[in-house]
Structure formats: structure tokens, C-alpha cells
Point group: C2
Chain length 430, copies 2
């Protein structure tokens, strides 16, 4: 299903199906109080009241296996994270203009996960703010304004970054100096580099200086482009030659999801100039960050300051620190690889599905019709059938013809069995 504006995949369409009276009433109250720009997931929206590890619970007692949410990445309501937030909230919540230890110690800990070229970490509240700051710095240090992104990219929701998020649909005005390139779903790094090269040439012809290539390292909204390893290196080399920056948007793939390491960009044999991160960073606590090469900000930092009231506050740091603890203690990167690989294999062995593109627990599956053509209507039907059967996923790609699968990183082989069982049942209705 699409939203009435035809922009959002897997959207609830008001009036399309009958709903329980209590749900309809809450939906009406919501539209009145929160206005017309909010959308809900699913033909029949889900009223959720509790979460625990990979399970979400509805107000009516229904239990859902969460195979979709990449924010509660170490599992819903993880007790170690809850405790860290509660303890810090009871102790001190303050900002980075005081000399608290928490942001310094956390930044140092996080930097250990990066190549040595990445020397600083700055804190924001959301991936949108992190991408927005990255672009501000890219404009400043390059003196350029041209930005290359992929066709169906999603990078966030500020004025600047919404304009660099074509997946938001035609209702959003694009940032004026945007160049779009097709994502490398065919895994052909040379062809992708050629598209980037053509964009750069066109930019130069129009008198615009390049500032950045901004890419989701796993191309989540574009349908997941997972490999082969190193396939982004040619495009990155081109940007470097132009004096423009590479911004790796790790808001979705980061923090171990792709199963090889903490950061998906390491798959590409590149070291980006800036790396943005967010969603899973605090397991739901609003915290995000920008990691960067010191040379990007040396000049900006000498002439300007950056302050973000909540960004890097002591509770945000406690939450983010606890998430790193869990990733390490529960060996979640190894788990993402093991369970993700098993899931990709199971999906590839399932009759009637199209191509599977996957890295760890970030997977996309093309849904095709009998002729092998993309079938977004079948994909939508599958997603809604699965929700009815207690399994939550969504769709991806510009036309919505792929399944998007990205459970919490604590997802086990047992959960995978449950998921595959329900998927096989749902496929009958495809």
C-alpha cells in the first residue's frame, strides 16, 4: 500500500479497510492532534504497548516478532541500557559546555572502532542533524555546493537533508545543487563510478563546484546494495580527485548490523572523510554523531563554534555507552553475520522470491511476478499478510518491490525459523 500522496511505502490508507472501533477512534484523535503529515504503517495500523528483545506486544495482546526495527538494535527495552539511562538520569543530565567526563570518554571509546584517519566525534540528537552538520562542514571546507546522492536515498528530515532525500517523494523540494545517480544494485562498482563521473562532469559544466558524495553505505532505501566488497572504491577515488568529500551515512547500517565490523564502509575498502551515525546508537534514546577526519573541521573550528543543547548530554552518553557494552558482551556483530547469512541462504532457497541482497542483518528480497518483473503489489500484500501473522517487516526500492528485513541484532536462529515459517505461509497469498 502507498500513502495517498503516493510517497510512502507500506502506508496505512485511511478508509481503505475497516478497523476495530478503538483503533479508528485513536487514528481520528491522532489526525486531529498531530495533523495531516504523519503516516502510519500497515493496512491495519498496530497499537503497540510493550517491547522486549525481538518481540513487540499489541494493546489487544497480540505478540509480534520484530524483523524490522533498526533502532532498538540490541533488543527492545534491553535491561542494561534501561539501567544506564535510569541511573544517569537520577544523577546528572547536562551539556557539553561543562567539562563532564562522559562525552570525552565515550568519544574516545567510539574512535577505537574507526580507522586512525578518523580523529574526532561530534554529537547530535538525530541522524538528520548529523548529516546536516556533515554537509555544513563539506560546504565550508570544499567551498563547493554540489552533492551527489542515489535515486531513492533517504538521509533525513531537515530542510537541507530532506532536499537530499528523494525517497520522501515529489512533495519535497530538492536541494538545488543535487545530482542523482542510480544505486549500484547490480554490484558493479566501475559502472557506478562512471555514473558518478558523469554527474561530476555535468556539475562542472554548470559551474558548480563538487562538495560531497553522500551515500548510505548499504543503500537501504534504494533496495540494499551489499557487495562485492570494495565496489565503492572507484567512485570514492573520483571524488577525492575532485577535492570533494565522501560522507558515509551509517545511520542505518552502522553499529554492527552488516555483520563484518562496526561500520559498513569498511566493506568498501575506503576511509570516508565523514561518517554519520544515529538510529541504533542509544537503542532508542535520541543520540547521533558525526565522526570525521580532523582536517575537515580545522578551519571551521578556528572561526566558528558548534553547540547542540542535548547533543552529547550525559544521559545520551550513558545510553550509547551501554549499547556498545551490549554489542561487545553479547557478541552481536558475530551474531548479525551468522544469523544474517543463514537468513539470506534460507531466502535464496525459497521458491518464488527474486534476488536477495544482504550483509549481516540488513537484507532486501526482490518480489517478482511469474514473468520475473518487479511486483510491488505482491510485496505490499506479503508485508501486510506477515503483520497479520505476527511478523513485522516492510518494503524497499523506489517502486516498493523489495522486502526490507532488518531485525534487532539479538535475532537468533530460532527466531529465523519462526520468521521463515510465517513467510512461507504468507507467500501463498502473494
Amino acid at each position: 500500500m502507498r500513502a495517498p500522496d503516493n510517497t510512502m511505502l507500506n502506508a496505512f490508507v485511511p478508509g481503505a479497510v475497516d478497523l476495530p472501533a478503538a483503533d479508528q477512534q485513536l487514528i481520528d484523535r491522532r489526525a486531529k492532534a498531530m495533523g495531516p503529515a504523519y503516516r502510519l504503517f500497515y493496512e491495519k495500523p498496530l497499537n503497540l504497548v510493550r517491547g522486549e528483545d525481538v518481540w513487540l506486544y499489541g494493546a489487544d495482546g497480540t505478540k509480534y516478532l520484530d524483523v524490522y526495527n533498526n533502532v532498538a538494535s540490541v533488543g527492545h527495552s534491553h535491561p542494561h541500557v534501561v539501567r544506564a539511562i535510569s541511573n544517569q538520569a537520577a544523577t546528572l543530565c547536562t551539556h557539553t559546555r561543562y567539562l563532564t567526563t562522559e562525552p570525552v570518554a565515550f568519544a574516545e571509546r567510539l574512535l577505537v572502532s574507526f580507522p586512525e584517519e578518523i580523529g574526532h566525534v561530534m554529537f547530535t540528537n538525530s541522524g538528520s542533524e548529523a548529516n546536516d552538520l556533515a554537509l555544513r562542514l563539506a560546504f565550508d571546507v570544499t567551498g563547493g555546493s554540489g552533492v551527489i546522492i542515489t535515486n531513492n536515498a533517504y538521509h533525513g528530515t531537515t530542510h537541507l537533508i530532506a532536499g537530499l532525500s528523494p525517497s520522501l517523494g515529489p512533495g519535497v523540494l530538492p536541494y538545488q545543487n543535487t545530482w542523482l545517480v542510480a544505486p549500484p544494485l547490480d554490484a558493479d562498482g566501475q559502472a557506478f563510478a562512471q555514473r558518478v563521473s558523469a554527474a561530476l562532469e555535468d556539475m562542472r559544466a554548470k559551474g558548480i563546484k563538487p562538495a560531497a558524495l553522500l551515500i548510505d553505505s548499504i543503500f537501504t532505501s534504494d533496495g540494499v546494495a551489499a557487495g562485492p566488497k570494495g565496489f565503492l572504491a572507484p567512485a570514492a577515488a573520483l571524488m577525492k580527485k575532485e577535492g570533494a568529500l565522501i560522507i558515509a551515512d551509517e545511520v542505518q547500517p552502522g553499529f554492527g548490523r552488516t555483520g563484518d565490523s562496526m561500520w559498513c564502509f569498511t566493506r568498501h575498502a575506503i576511509v570516508p572523510d565523514m561518517v554519520t551515525m544515529g538510529k541504533p546508537m542509544g537503542n532508542g534514546y535520541p543520540v547521533a554523531a558525526l565522526a570525521l577526519r580532523p582536517e575537515v573541521i580545522a578551519d571551521f573550528g578556528a572561526k566558528s563554534r558548534y553547540f547542540n543543547t542535548f547533543g552529547g548530554n550525559t544521559i545520551a552518553m550513558a545510553a550509547a555507552n551501554a549499547v556498545l557494552d551490549v554489542i561487545e558482551n553479547q557478541d552481536l556483530i558475530v551474531n548479525a553475520k551468522k544469523v544474517g547469512d543463514a537468513m539470506a541462504q534460507a531466502l535464496r532457497q525459497t521458491a518464488g522470491l527474486g534476488e536477495v541482497r544482504a550483509a549481516g542483518l540488513m537484507l532486501a528480497v526482490d518480489i517478482i511476478d511469474a514473468n520475473g518483473s518487479p511486483d510491488p503489489i505482491a510485496a505490499s500484500r506479503l508485508v501486510n499478510q506477515l503483520a497479520q501473522k505476527g511478523v513485522l517487516i516492510s518494503t524497499s526500492r523506489k517502486d516498493g518491490s523489495a522486502l526490507k528485513i532488518r531485525p534487532p541484532l539479538t535475532f537468533s536462529l530460532k527466531h529465523l525459523d519462526f520468521f521463515m515459517e510465517k513467510l512461507l505461509q504468507a507467500i501463498k497469498y502473494k
Copy 2:
């Protein structure tokens, strides 16, 4: 003291004074890990480890009376808010694409505090994101791009909003269609309207259509312009006549601080088209919002969607809801008026201080020399003397020549006595 870039008031200047070895070491680690764009407060930065109500505690055991922080507005580590956050974190943290009750119920509760023309609430993570969204909508609904702000305004930190925050200094590129007007520190509403009128005329002459007047309802960074009531109405009427919007930035004055009602704009006998809020909304939990007239978003909502991953999540709503509980249960708006009025009176009776501009617990005091001229050096010395004596405030105005005073709303007459005692001691060193 100013930051080396001459932009931030009350900034720590590296190398200017000798510091304890442990602090110097932490400052060095911080600069290395977090980069050169972060600034610290005070000649001698404060290493804080605990907060309780209006008190903050340093790592060395020093106790500070907080007469400055407007985020922990119902008091540091307020147990009711801490409990609400902890309980919700242990239950469910999820987003607005599921049909949870929490954002709906909170939006409804918040709307009760607004005039009936304000019909919707949308959620973000920061005041910056709220102002950014307000401008996006203003551009969309007016088709204009011209924005009027005050000379030393601060509205936030995204690319767009930093460009509309001249208090960030000359290192930040202004948004291109910005018109600056002097703030109405003289409380002359007609003269302010004339400046707005001249800006509109100039805008029209340059072929730019007006989009919005964006103002902090109490002009916090401009030096606090507190009255008389109704003095913004003439400027607002002018904007309306041009088909442009009024955005009341209540990120600093909102939630009862100014002592008359929840929202400072009610002092101005206007109903803004949009109202942004943030800092104190979750007492430190990153939550912010935009309240607006439905006609502003009707068209945008029909063609586009708005989603903010953390914005309006169930924990943010629990925190914000608990803050409203405390404001009501502890009668904090009445307290802000009572203690704020007493503070203004005490300051006006203190020899050697300049003009006091105040509304509730948002106060500015001009610091002047023997000839009555603005004396930013004396203001800086006072702020640092007070910190040494265990009292935290900061400065305001473009030149830093005013004291900025805005304690948590639980500030009592007893705390006021303590503050005045220390202030009188510090004034000797002015």
C-alpha cells in the same frame, strides 16, 4: 571572556589561566577526541558530576547554585521525571508509525495550553529541528523565502537555522534571504514595527517574497525584551498583511518561564502561526515540538509526509508528560512570577547595575561603567567571580554587556537570597 574566534560569550580561552592538572588533562583529551568546534564555559571550566534541584556539584565537591540552566527547568534530576523515563524505557520505546497512545494523548494535553487557533502538534528532537521544520512549512505555504530575524538572534544549529542565528558569529554563513532588525530592547513596539516594515519594503524591492518573522518571544540572546505587554502586535499585523507567517520561538521562554502563562507570546496579544518549543520540554530528555495552525500544513500534509525517527517516541512523551505534571503540581508558573518579580526588584535596588529587563525567571541586567556605558569586560568578570563563589549565570546581548539569569523554575526566595548575597560580594570586583 570571549572564545578565540570572538563569537561566544563567557567562553573558556585555552591557556589564559592556570588550571588544576586533572582539568587540564581532561580538556586536552576533549579537544583531541571532540575537535576544535566545541567551547567550554568560564575562565576555569567546571567539571560537574551531579545535579539535584537547583544545585550542581563539581568533581572536587564544590556546590553550585544553578541560576542559568533553562533545560533542567523543573530542577535537576527531578524524581518524577526520572521515574517516568525509567518506567517507559523498561516498557516500550518506539516511533510514530505505530499507533501508540502516548504521542496522541500528549499532543492533546499540550494543545490545551494554546489558543484554539493552534490545532496541531508535531514532534522533533531539538529546538533546531522544530525551527527548521517551521521554516520548511513557512516556505511551502507562503511560496516566499524572505525571513526577518533580530540582530543577535539564536534559533538553532541546522544548516538553515544556523544561517538564521547571527549570534553564532561571522564564521557562519547567513541564510541568503535574511533581513536583520534591531531587537525592541527599548520596549517600543511601534518603532520595532517600523523596522520590520522597512525590512519588508527592502525585501519587496529585491524581488523576494516574505515568508516569516522568526522571533524568540523574549529575545533571549538579544538581551531580553520583556514588555510592555502587547508590544509585538503592530509588527505581527504587518507580517499578516503581507501574507507572511509569525513563528514564535518559545524554545527558551516557553513552558512557564516568563511567569504569566505557559507561553511568552501570550504577553504580546498575538496568536502566532507556529510556535516552536524545546529545551525544558523533557527536563533534559531530547524532545521538542512545533505547534501550529492547521491551515499552515494542510497542503504540505496532503502532498508530503513528516517522520522523525526519535521525535514523539514513547519515552520522549513520558518525559514531556512528567514535566507538565511537575509544572502543574508544583505551581511553577506562579513561582516563576513570584520569585522572578522579587529578583527583578532586588536587582533594581542594587547600586551599580544598569537596566533590568525581566519576565518571570528570564532576566537580563545591563552592566555599565561609571559613565553609564555598556561594560562587557565587567560583565564577564562578574560571571566568573560568581562561578568562583558557587553561583552559575552567563551573559547576553551582542556585546556581552548584560547578565543572563534564568534558573530552574523551582528557584525559591531562599535561593534568591543566596544569589543576591554572592552577587553583592562579586560586584566589588566588577
